[in-house]
């Protein structure tokens, strides 16, 4: 049962470390540019993409 106090202590310490890491991440501007990587995948310029005609015709 005494183990629980050690575990609570460890958990809080770990949570604090994560919190500090999070604050550091914000402050040091780790996420200043989250736009480029997200958008880049949309500009593939695929051949297949170019050749598919968008058609509203339905065969069924």
């Amino acid at each position: 049962m005494n183990m629980i106090y050690l575990l609570i202590g460890c958990s809080i310490l770990l949570a604090l470390m994560f919190l500090l890491a999070f604050f550091w991440m914000i402050k040091s501007g780790q996420n200043d540019d989250t736009f480029t990587p997200a958008v880049r995948i949309l500009f593939d310029d695929e051949v297949a993409e170019r050749e598919i005609q968008i058609s509203d015709e339905d065969h069924a």
Binding site: T34, A48, E57, H59
Partner: protein, 703 residues
């Protein structure tokens, strides 16, 4: 400067075909299993098609064949485009494809034959386990080879999820496959009892996490933005939820073992981390749904996006429900009932199924360079599939609460209100019928999709090698601005990324497993618990072969409602010789942990021959083949030796006396049966299984 190259679409097409074919097969087997729960005769009187053997066939087929092939389809399509490179090696792609199909075929053959390790979702025997490892490594080499020769510095978030999937599934599969072979298709797990249970559910839960979730999140991050033509809602959120998801998920396994003999500190860890899992899971769902901001008008028109939206919503529901089910109070009612079956099917049918369908509808027209044959049929598929999920899940939720509460109901006099287990089962049979209807609707949708996709493919032509061009990676890359930030650097370093995710996923498992394996007080020994006799051991292996564990648990939880019904609750020390553990996860029939000495040998004989005669209305199928088939005693020596190697204290030289010991015990049982006018030869399989059933729980049974 610009390099020209070709994307390999043929391998994507092949995996797509395999996805559809195995999907239909896996779901049909599932439907057959579901129907046997209200009409046991649908096993067609054959041992090879009886519930206990086809249930693992269904789960393996939908998880590893349907979802597995869909993962490879999605990964091979998106990886090439995200990295601007053809797959590393066409030969490895081919080996990967055919190797995986061969593994599935071997599962389709061995599982109905009764070759099973009994670990859920890891039933395949050791030679197939080795084949899976080899093919998985082939996949890994092919993936990392492609990453190394990429033409795009940055690894998009989808690829992080693929990397985490690769390393974690490898670790899970290897650790959960430590078996000692005794013949080509039979082996014993190195772990026993509590430890075996912990390893199994660490594996089982993370098969959900890293086979059904992370690769699909990766695919969601690629295909959804492409379909909606919108960037992912928050790249920051994807970083946060990726790391927290893989770190937290690995701890959650013990929530499958609440109130069992697993040490309670491990149970508590499982609960706490399961609750925390809501955050990263919903991070993924929110990131997906909000990607559609400003594109909801498209969702109205486009069945593909509808599939994605319902899939993500099902993911959100299942990942909210999961943590709730991990609360001890709720788990006490839900565990062993159909609630759990409903829960996993919301995830499997909604999240995995619908995302797969959405991706197929989007991808097939692109690689065949023609519009989808019919949008109306796709819309029909969407609606019948959605209705199918509802008709599947709602009756099972109802069945789960009903039965879970009936098990716990006491009368005013403090007696069990429903002492007969069968009564609680008969109450929910109509729900089983409705569930099968829901499943059938879902399957019809898949068949309609197959027709639609075949028609589409016929109308177009596969662009097997799709031309593309990109600049090669510059050898002297200088990061500027945001690219100098830590995580952005990591996003350019695949190997470091892999090692880091490996460390992150190892922590939880190690902290839960090391103490359970090393500290003695976790599993207090009980001196009256003795190894199984040779006949009981053989009987136990028949119990495993027939898949009895699919319907019968062997784990009495410490509730009065359970000790009244089944007897003294199960203790950790009772299972120290159980390689593998057979606690089970579902009670379609009653728990058997204290079955020994409850009924006469003749009762068991008649019950196995025709359960209906002893329990009218029972949905257990007859096992008449156990009476006709001769017990194979040639394996006894190898089995005793193997068990001794694993630490079971059979005295030296016992293996040579084992078969005469076995024959004597069998003759005693046959003689006892004869007293009740049951004539059966003592060398039949049924004698061994009766011996095992009569042994269950008797070591510490209060007389």
């Amino acid at each position: 400067m610009t390099e020209k190259f070709y994307y390999d679409n043929k391998i994507v097409r092949n995996f797509a075909v395999a996805t559809i074919v195995w999907g239909i097969i896996g779901m049909t087997v599932g439907l057959l299993a579901a129907m046997q729960l209200f009409k046991p005769e649908l096993n067609m009187g054959s041992q090879y098609t009886t519930f206990g053997r086809i249930r693992p066939l269904h789960t393996n087929a939908v998880i590893f064949a349907f979802v597995g092939n869909a993962i490879f389809m999605g990964v091979y399509y998106s990886l090439q485009r995200l990295l601007k490179a053809r797959m590393f090696s066409d030969m490895l792609s081919k080996i990967h494809f055919w190797g995986w199909q061969l593994i599935i075929v071997s599962a389709v053959i061995t599982l109905p034959l009764g070759f099973t390790s009994s670990h859920e979702y890891a039933e395949l025997e050791w030679p197939i386990d080795i084949a899976i490892t080899v093919i998985w490594v082939v996949f890994g080499i092919n993936m990392f080879g492609t990453i190394i020769k990429r033409r795009e510095q940055h690894m998009y978030v989808a690829i992080w999820f693929y990397i985490a999937t690769f390393v974690t599934v490898a670790v899970l599969h290897i650790v959960n496959s430590f078996q000692l072979p005794i013949s080509l298709f039979k082996s014993y797990y190195l772990y026993a009892g509590v430890q075996d249970a912990l390893v199994q559910w660490w594996y089982g839960h993370n098969a959900v996490a890293f086979f059904l979730t992370t690769p699909y999140l990766g695919m969601m991050y690629y295909f959804l933005p492409k379909m909606a033509n919108r960037p992912v809602y928050s790249y920051k959120l994807s970083i946060l939820h990726f790391w927290s998801l893989i770190f937290i998920y690995i701890w959650a396994g013990p929530h499958h073992l609440l109130y069992t003999s697993l040490p309670s500190w491990a149970q508590s860890l499982g609960v706490v981390f399961s609750i925390m899992l809501i955050a990263p899971s919903w991070g993924g769902m929110i990131n997906g749904l909000l990607t559609l901001r400003g594109a909801w008008d498209k969702v109205r028109e486009d069945a593909t996006l509808k599939f994605m939206v319902v899939g993500l919503t099902a993911y959100g529901m299942a990942t909210f429900e999961g943590p709730m089910l991990a609360l001890k109070q709720i788990n006490a009612i839900a565990h062993y009932t159909d609630w759990i079956v409903a829960h996993v099917h919301v995830g499997a049918l909604g999240w995995n199924g619908f995302l797969t369908f959405g991706i197929l509808y989007w991808l097939i027209p692109r690689i065949y360079r023609t519009p989808l044959y019919s949008k109306k049929l796709a819309a029909f598929h969407f609606w019948i599939g959605t209705l199918g999920i509802i008709f599947y899940a709602v009756p099972l939720y109802f069945a789960g609460f009903t039965q879970g509460l009936m098990w716990k109901q006491f009368t005013e006099d403090g007696m069990l209100k429903y002492p007969n287990f069968l009564e609680t089962l008969l109450q929910i049979i109509p729900m089983y019928v409705l569930r099968a209807i829901g499943g059938a609707m879902y399957l019809i949708g898949v068949i309609v999709m197959t027709y639609n996709i075949i028609k589409t493919a016929r109308a177009g032509k596969l662009l097997a090698n799709e031309p593309a061009e990109a600049q090669p990676l510059s050898k002297t890359y200088e990061a500027v601005g945001s690219d100098k930030k830590i995580h952005r650097i990591l996003e350019r370093k695949p190997m470091v990324f892999m090692v880091l995710s490996l460390i992150v996923i190892l922590i939880g498992g190690m902290i839960e497993m090391m103490p359970t394996f090393t500290i003695k007080s976790n599993i207090p020994t009980i001196s009256s618990v003795k190894p199984y006799s040779p006949l009981e051991l053989q009987g136990r292996d028949l119990y495993i072969r027939e898949g009895c564990v699919s319907c019968h648990s062997q784990m009495i939880r410490p509730f009065r409602s359970e000790t009244e019904r089944y007897g003294e609750y199960s203790k950790a020390g009772e299972f120290v010789y159980d390689h593998p553990f057979l606690w089970g996860s579902k009670r379609i029939g009653p728990d058997l942990a204290r079955e020994g000495d409850k009924y006469s040998n003749a009762w068991h004989f008649n019950h196995l021959l025709d359960p209906q005669t002893m329990s009218p209305g029972s949905i257990m199928p007859p096992y008449e083949w156990l009476i006709n088939q001769k017990l194979d005693t040639t394996t006894t020596i190898a089995k005793i030796n193997a068990m001794r190697t694993l630490g079971v204290p059979y005295e030296p030289g016992f293996e040579h006396k084992a078969n005469s010991h076995l024959n004597n015990q069998a003759k005693e049982i046959a003689a006892d049966l004869r007293k009740s006018n049951v004539r059966v030869q003592s060398d039949k399989e049924i004698i061994a299984i009766i011996a095992y059933l009569q042994r269950l729980g008797t070591d510490i049974k209060a007389k």
